[in-house]
């Protein structure tokens, strides 16, 4: 405490230089906070993907369909607890330009396979009862001001009805949300009845896009996946089944590449920050050489002088670091709702704060080490000769 007035007085000596130095530190820790939120968000999302779910696609290509009859056949296979299926509708909204992810699904099995889907009381029953009912994600609902009870004419970019129209009338039964931390479904989709779609569609009947399978024993999901694919071997629609986790991992690999780039960027920013801070400290010590010599003359031990310089460096780094973290927290709060539509967990954790504190300590010490050592070694008589 007794050194604080001296430290603060020294800090304030060159306000402009302090502002620039602080600026570079603030930016570095701000970026760090954002990147950490993203990185840990991805990591948690991936770890929360259900291990007990498999995805069965057409072996040839994800855009090739499967026969709807496969649904019943997969259901009957040993090791399969639950199956549901989806079809890609290719929704186009209002203006004819806005794409909406509309999935045609089997409502009953869909709700069983995805327990993380959250609905208001009564919505579930109402949706099952209304063949033209659609569930709308809270994110997309908020974006376009969609409310339960709305009637939406949804165009398909892919299908036409038997009467030639490409518009399906959909009744918004309710808005769904996703349980916190579940990353398999987003809040941006429409879920519509397969039965109704299949009856009204002109060409492409009795086809589905893909199936999602819940296995009875997650420990044997590889085995179950192989069994499913074996069942359709040598048919005209062969399948390829993989775990959601595996798909998520592929996704994660791509994210990882982006992550590596971000880490490189933040690393470079930190490096620049350290150079700026180290330069500031070196200049500060150089221009204060006579003063440091005077302190030593007055009897300040060399170690004390060294600590004063280190403390100043740490103080600047901590000041900028905390400002950067605060800015990071504010930014995360501001853009969080938007980001959480894609990554369910996006927040500043204590781990980030602890890590940042360690970085402040490390960079503050590193930036101040050289000048501090110089101040420690400074020889009084020589330094005073040049005043």
């Amino acid at each position: 405490m007794r050194w604080l007035p001296l430290l603060l007085a020294n800090l304030r000596r060159r306000p402009l230089r302090l502002v620039f130095t602080l600026g570079s530190i603030v930016v570095a820790f701000w970026l760090f906070a954002l990147l950490e939120a993203l990185r840990s968000g991805f990591a948690t999302s991936i770890s929360m993907v259900g291990v007990d779910r498999l995805m069965t696609l057409n072996k040839t290509s994800i855009i090739q369909p499967l026969p709807v009859a496969y649904f019943e056949r997969v259901k009957a296979l040993p090791g399969v607890a639950e199956v549901s299926f989806f079809h890609w509708f290719g929704g186009v909204f209002r203006d004819g330009r806005t794409q909406i992810p509309v999935y045609v699904c089997d409502p009953e099995s869909f709700l069983r396979v995805y327990p993380e889907l959250l609905l208001q009381p009564g919505v579930r029953e109402a949706w099952l009862a209304d063949r033209q009912g659609v569930l709308v994600g809270s994110g997309v609902a908020a974006r376009y001001g969609i409310r339960a009870g709305d009637r939406i004419p949804m165009r398909s970019a892919i299908y036409r009805q038997r009467d030639g129209s490409d518009v399906w009338e959909m009744n918004v039964t309710g808005i769904y949300d996703i349980a916190e931390g579940a990353a398999t479904l987003d809040r941006q989709s429409f879920f519509f009845h397969y039965d109704y779609f299949n009856e009204s569609v002109g060409a492409g009947r009795d086809r589905i896009g893909w199936m999602v399978v819940r296995v009875a024993d997650p420990g044997r999901s590889t085995e179950t996946a192989a069994r499913i694919d074996a069942a359709f071997e040598n048919s005209s629609f062969e399948t390829k089944t993989s775990t959601e986790k595996a798909m998520a991992r592929q996704f994660a690999d791509q994210v990882g590449n982006i992550g590596a780039i971000l880490v490189a960027v933040v690393g470079a920013v930190f490096f620049t920050m350290m150079l700026v801070t180290a330069n500031t400290m070196a200049q500060a010590v150089r221009e204060r050489t006579p003063e440091i010599a005077v302190l030593k003359t007055l009897g300040f031990p060399s170690a004390q002088v060294m600590w004063l310089v280190l403390a100043e460096s740490l103080l600047v780094t901590a000041l900028g670091g905390l400002l950067g973290l605060a800015l990071g927290a504010a930014s995360i709060a501001a853009i969080g709702p938007g980001i959480r539509q894609f990554i369910p967990v996006f927040e500043m954790t204590w781990r980030t704060v602890a890590l940042a504190a360690l970085l402040m300590l490390a960079f503050g010490t590193a930036a101040g080490a050289w000048p501090a050592a110089g101040a420690m070694r400074l020889r009084i008589t020589e330094a005073l000769r040049h005043t």
């Binding site: 050194w3 007085a9 009897g299 005073l384």
Partner: protein, 233 residues
């Protein structure tokens, strides 16, 4: 310690100081022997480069002799470790510089407080003592001023307050009036005289100004690293 036996507060015996600069050795002080009794006020004169500052630095424990011994109050300071020497300086010596050497970012009282930061005194007591020292040099009303808001003479008085705030035995002044006009210089010399007479401080003052030297009890003349002669006021 041996005050009664005529031994001075400062005792230099056969002190040599040389610098080697690129293979060449420069002898600055040559077999210098000197005794300064307690309560003395010594002026040190001599041409530029004669070794006055070097001598003062040796007495103040800022530098070490290459030969001979230096005792202050019976303590062989030339044999202290660097850390011990620093502590000794903090307790026993006050330095006054030609260029005042105040910290520009600190107020007068904070500058005077600096040496007390090394003590265990609590903050209020430190500031009380700093203000007392400032009052002693006649600057009680300038406690909150920065050095740049003071005149040269006032700055030097703050420098003196900083030098005496720990109540040291020895005051070492290197051309304390060198940067001052005559009036301010006289004020500083009055102050040093009073500190010597009334507070019993032992003072060694380097000066180029014979008028300043007259304030001292005696003047030592240094030339080419040797004490040439001594004059008494």
């Amino acid at each position: 310690m041996n005050d009664g036996g005529g031994a001075g507060v400062v005792e230099l015996r056969g002190v040599c100081k040389s610098y080697s600069r690129g293979g060449e050795t420069v002898h600055v002080l040559d077999e210098l022997t000197l005794s300064i009794p307690r309560g003395d006020f010594v002026a040190l004169m001599g041409p530029s480069g004669s070794g006055k500052t070097t001598l003062l630095n040796l007495i103040g424990g800022l530098d070490r002799p290459t030969g001979g011994s230096i005792e202050v109050e019976g303590l062989a300071i030339d044999r202290l470790s660097e850390a011990a020497l620093a502590r000794w300086r903090a307790d026993h010596v006050g330095f006054v510089f030609q260029a005042y050497n105040l910290l520009p970012v600190l107020s007068a009282e904070r500058n005077v407080e600096l040496p007390l930061l090394l003590t265990r005194l609590p903050a209020p007591e430190r500031l009380r003592r700093a203000r007392t020292a400032l009052a002693l040099v006649g600057l009680a009303d300038r406690a909150r001023h920065r050095p740049r808001e003071l005149s040269g003479g006032q700055e030097q008085r703050v420098g003196i307050a900083r030098a005496i705030v720990t109540d040291p035995t020895l005051l070492l002044c290197d051309e304390p009036t060198g940067d001052l006009d005559r009036r301010s210089g006289d004020e500083v010399l009055d102050l040093l005289g009073a500190l010597n007479r009334e507070f019993g401080k032992t003072i060694v003052m380097v000066t180029h100004d014979p008028r300043a030297a007259q304030r001292a009890r005696r003047t030592l003349h240094l030339d080419k690293g040797r004490l040439e002669r001594e004059t008494r006021a």
